[in-house]
Each structure stands twice: as C-alpha cells, then as structure tokens.
C-alpha cells in the first residue's frame, strides 16, 4: 500500500514541478504578466494534463506493450492514437484555462476570439504536449518492466534456494547418516558371509554417492536420470531390507527422455519406505509407475504399508510441494491417497510443456 501511495506522490510531484518549470519559462517570455497568475495558470494546466495522463496509464495497464515484435503493432497504434487524442484534449482544456485566467469568463466564452487564438496555440504547444504524454506512457512501462524484473529475480532466487535445499536434503536426509551408517554396517556383515555381495553393495553405495554428489546444477533432468538415482537408492535398501522389500518399476521406455525436476521422486520413495514399509516388520512392496497423456506425465509411487493419514505430511513432502509450486506455478498435481492398512498411493502429474520454455 505504501509503495502504491509513493508512486502517486511521485506522479503528481513531477506534474507539479513541470508546472513550476513552465511558469518560470512564461515569466521570462512575458515579464509584464503578474508572476502569480502565470504560476496559477501553469499549475492548473499541468494538473489537467496529469488527470488526462491517468487515462493513458489505465490504458497501458490494460494493454501493455509486451515486446518490440512487429506482431504487436496494434498495441503501438492504440497508444499512439490515444496519446494524440489526449494531447489534443489536454491542449484544448489548457487553452480554455489560459483564457479564463487571462481574461475571465466573458472573453473566454466569446466564440470568435476563442477560435481565432486556437490554431496558434496548437501550433506552438501540441508537439511538446504529445511528448509529455509519451513520457507518461514510457514511464509507466519502465516501472512495469522494472517490477517484473524484480519479481523474476526474487522468484529465481527462491527457486535457487529451494533447489539448493533439495540437494542438501538429498545429502542430509535421504543420505541421512542413518542410511549411510546402516549401509556400512550391512557391508561389514556381508564381508564375511558373502564377499561378492559385499563387493556389490560397496559399488552400489558408490553409485549412489556419486549421483548425489554429481547432481547437475539444472533443475530439470531426464526421467531416465531420476530413475537411475532411485534405483541406486533402492538397490541398497533392498539388500538392507532383504526379503522384506520388493520393488516393481513400470516405466515405458518412450517416457525416459521426458524431463522432470531433479530429486523430485526420491523424497516420495523414501516416504514410502519409511511410513509404508519400514514401519511394519514383514514384507512390503513398492511400486513405481509412469504414464502420459497429451498434457501430463503421471508418476505414481505406491506402497502397501499402513496407509497415509491426512494431515501428517512431513518436511520431505512439504519441500516437494514447494518446489513443484515454484517450477510449475500450480499447473501440476500432487495427491496422496491413503487407505488404512492397505497402503498409500502418491500421484504426481507434471505438465509436459516445459516450464522454462514458457517463461522466456
């Protein structure tokens, strides 16, 4: 609210200064005229122009000039015509005011005298006045572009922060110390019982760590890459859970090149293990599926654990939601469906149109 008020204070302030400036000009041109009258005249005229300028601002707000592309010629023509009309109307009113201030009502309403002076007045001032109106439209657009730029900067910073957070989370939470130490412990058991298995596990842990550490700086990665990461994670969990965890993945090959936000699936899979499977002592199955239609890529993570209870979302899920919101601006869907005792289904629907492509 305060910034909006500030904006208008500036708007009227500038018109006021213009009035003062032009009054001094008139004082130099017509030293015989009383200075106070010249001041009053110019302030009134500029006030009227300021009022008319509001219409141009209103128009520019409804039909902003978005680019310099030729295809936008209609908007340019609209603003050109509007500014010519407003400048003409503004001069008419200014002329009327000058007659009123100079000679009072009688002379102002004398049609003959009115007509006689007008062409000269227009020839002298029209071009300057048109320039003023263009300045109003230009200033409005400059402010608008500046704001948009600021907002985008803030948004980019937020997105960056979320992404950094996600990467951190991948390191700290998913690769939580628990996970790492338990895995190392499993390896120390395997070393004696099953040297080949231990060997295998070490390379799986290596794969997982490499993928976490070498995560590309991009927000979006091919589904292929995200799934490889999930596989490395699950490969380790599977050895640790042994017979307790079964994993089924059903992802059609033609979807593997579609792009998804990096690290987006992992918190969902981790949740499925934590709440869906680890919290029961016996076997559990984790299903990962993907499908698409003309608009959306749909990813599903399903477990057969105790079932999600609404209102118990953790930080992992909160972060996923926040990141999706920033990337897709509400064009995605994330639903959790829980059936007590029968498991949880997480459905993530991502628009196929790339968010970046649209923004530029």
């Amino acid at each position: 609210m305060q910034t909006a008020g500030m904006k208008w204070r500036w708007y009227w302030g500038i018109w006021g200064l213009m009035g003062l400036y032009m009054a001094t000009w008139d004082m130099v041109m017509y030293p015989a005229s009383p200075a106070l009258r010249l001041l009053l005249l110019n302030l009134l005229q500029n006030g009227v122009w300021g009022l008319l300028g509001l219409y141009l601002i209103w128009l520019a707000d409804r039909h902003p000039i978005e680019s310099f592309a030729w295809s936008r010629w209609r908007t340019w023509i609209l603003h050109l015509l509007a500014s010519v009309l407003v400048a003409a109307l503004g001069l008419f009113l200014a002329y009327l005011i000058s007659l009123l201030v100079d000679a009072g009502w009688e002379k102002a309403l004398d049609l003959k005298a009115f007509r006689k002076g007008m062409p000269r007045f227009y020839r002298a001032y029209f071009h300057t006045n048109l320039l003023f109106m263009w300045a109003v439209v230009a200033a409005f657009h400059a402010l608008r572009i500046y704001r948009k730029y600021k907002a985008r900067e803030v948004e980019a910073a937020q997105l960056e922060a979320r992404f950094a957070e996600a990467q951190n989370l991948a390191l700290r939470m998913q690769l939580q110390p628990h996970f790492l130490f338990n895995t190392l412990h499993s390896i120390s058991a395997l070393v004696h019982a099953d040297p080949d298995g231990a060997d295998d596990m070490i390379s799986r842990l290596g794969d997982f760590l490499r993928m976490t550490l070498e995560a590309p700086p991009d927000q979006m990665v091919p589904l292929r890459k995200e799934l490889a990461f999930i596989r490395a994670y699950l490969a380790i969990e599977q050895v640790r859970f042994q017979d307790r965890l079964r994993v089924e993945m059903e992802v059609p090959a033609e979807l593997l090149d579609l792009r998804v936000p990096s690290f987006i699936l992992q918190p969902l899979v981790e949740n499925a293990l934590k709440h869906g499977l680890a919290d029961r002592s016996r076997n559990g199955t984790l299903r990962l599926g993907a499908s698409r239609d003309s608009e959306y890529l749909t990813l599903e993570v399903r477990d057969d654990g105790e079932g999600f209870q609404p209102g118990r979302e953790g930080t992992g899920l909160g972060n996923v939601r926040a990141r999706l919101g920033l990337i897709y601006k509400g064009r995605h869907q994330l639903d959790l469906i829980g059936a007590p005792g029968r498991g949880t289904l997480v459905v993530l629907r991502l628009p196929l149109a790339e968010p970046d492509a649209e923004a530029s």
Partner: protein, 254 residues
C-alpha cells in the same frame, strides 16, 4: 560361565554381524534372534537371557520401547546399538552407558562385550548388589526429552499387543491397574493413572476424574450435571463424569 545372549535388530545382516563376531566367544551362547521389538519383549520374558544386544531403531516398537515394556528394573544387562541417534547418545554419555555405533570394529565390539561380561558377573546372585548400568535413570532422562509415546504395549495373557494411543478411547482406574478401552474391547494394564498420563500427549488426552482419562477426539458432548460436575458422553455412548476438581482440564471448552 556361559552367558545366554539375545540379539535384537530388524536387519538380518546386522544380526548376522553380531553372530559372526561372537563365533569365537565360546562363553556366550546366542539363545535367540529377534527382528522387532515385540518379539524381543516376548523373548526376554520367555528366555530370560543374561545379555541383550539391542538395536535402537526398529519398526513399531523401538529399543527403548522394549526396555520400557519389559521394565527397566527387570531388563537384563543390555548393550545398545545404534547407527545414528544424537539424542540417545547424549543420554548414554550422561549415564555412562556403553553403546555400539554402527558400523563397529571387532575390537570395539569385544571391548564392549568385555565390560558387559563384568556387569553380568557382578549381577550374579551372591556377588552383592548389581552395579551395572542404571537403565532406570537412562529411561527417566529419555522420557524428559520425548515425553509422549504413540504406541503402548499391553499384555493379554502371554500375548503382547501394540496399541496406538490414537485408538485409545478412554482409560479407567482399577485399583493398581488401569483399564484401556480400545474400540470395543479393553485391556487391563498394571500401571498408575499418573504414570500413564505422563506418557500421553496432553493435546489429545485429559484427566476428567480421579479414575478416568479420556481421548478428546472421542468425546461427543458435555452436559451440566449436579454439584458442578459434568456428564461426558463419548461417541460410543459411554457416559463418564467430569468432576469439579478436574474441570479446569477441559476449561477451554466449558
């Protein structure tokens, strides 16, 4: 002497690791392996082992839950094992308890085992009072940090049942026991009302009478009654009394 030991860990590989490390310690006989807390409680009561290797993070009932269910005073000497739990580690340090951090080396394991052997010897009848780790003090300090449980272990004959506290409707005092009313059935548990109330989340459970604790989610309505008392009608139709003395417990609604 032979020590009868129980190995508790939800990961088969972790149990295997302990068995492997114990293979040359001929004085220790592994009498059982448990993959979760519930099994562990049962095994401790049935097999009465003299030493327990107890993993802390386990599904459903964790290591501390096992100690609580068995009773800190009746728990055999215990070697706690954890992958990462800064919270528990602090408590262990404070109470000078030995613990094993995964992954541990054979040396570290045997060092901890040696200490455990000594407690066990001291604790054998005839060797005077036990000077082993003070489990009761440990549990008390853990309780301070995480006061509320979300599951209770109740005994029915020789069965052990895990009850989610959210499923508890109300609790009734019966002499030295409490009766837990859970969805159409009830369990008798040896515990005091005050002791139980301390373990329940006050956002969900309130005491409304000397002999009744209710789950707020299960209350349907309050009706004014005589002498400043209120009648509490539960969703399942049960009628309880909110006595004047405990009225401030639900003061925000009345």
């Amino acid at each position: 002497m032979n020590l009868r030991a129980l190995v508790v860990d939800d990961e088969a590989l972790a149990r295997q690791r302990i068995r492997h490390l114990l293979r040359r310690s001929t004085d220790i006989e592994v009498v059982g392996e448990c993959a979760d807390g519930l099994e562990a409680v049962k095994a401790i009561e049935e097999l009465s082992p003299e030493l327990v290797f107890l993993d802390i993070q386990m599904p459903e009932l964790d290591g501390f839950g096992v100690v609580e269910a068995v009773g800190a005073d009746r728990m055999p000497p215990t070697l706690f094992i954890t992958a990462y739990d800064q919270h528990a580690l602090k408590a262990f340090e404070v109470h000078a308890l030995d613990y094993l951090l995964k992954p541990f080396s054979p040396e570290r394991f045997h060092q901890a085992l040696e200490r455990a052997r000594r407690w066990c010897q001291r604790n054998t009848p005839g060797n005077g009072p036990g000077t082993g780790p003070d489990l009761e003090a440990l549990m008390a300090s853990l309780r301070q940090d995480r006061p509320w449980v979300d599951r209770l272990l109740v005994r029915q004959g020789d069965r052990h049942i895990l009850v989610r506290t959210s499923a508890l409707q109300w609790i009734e005092a019966e002499d030295n026991y409490v009766r837990l009313h859970v969805e159409g059935t009830s369990y008798l548990q040896r515990q005091t009302m005050t002791g139980l109330l301390m373990r329940l989340d006050p956002a969900q459970f309130r005491r409304i009478h000397r002999s009744a604790i209710v789950n707020l989610d299960c209350i349907q309505e309050f009706q004014p009654w005589t002498g400043g008392d209120h009648l509490v009608i539960m969703r399942d139709g049960t009628r309880l009394t909110l006595s004047r003395t405990y009225r401030e417990q639900v003061g925000e609604w009345l």
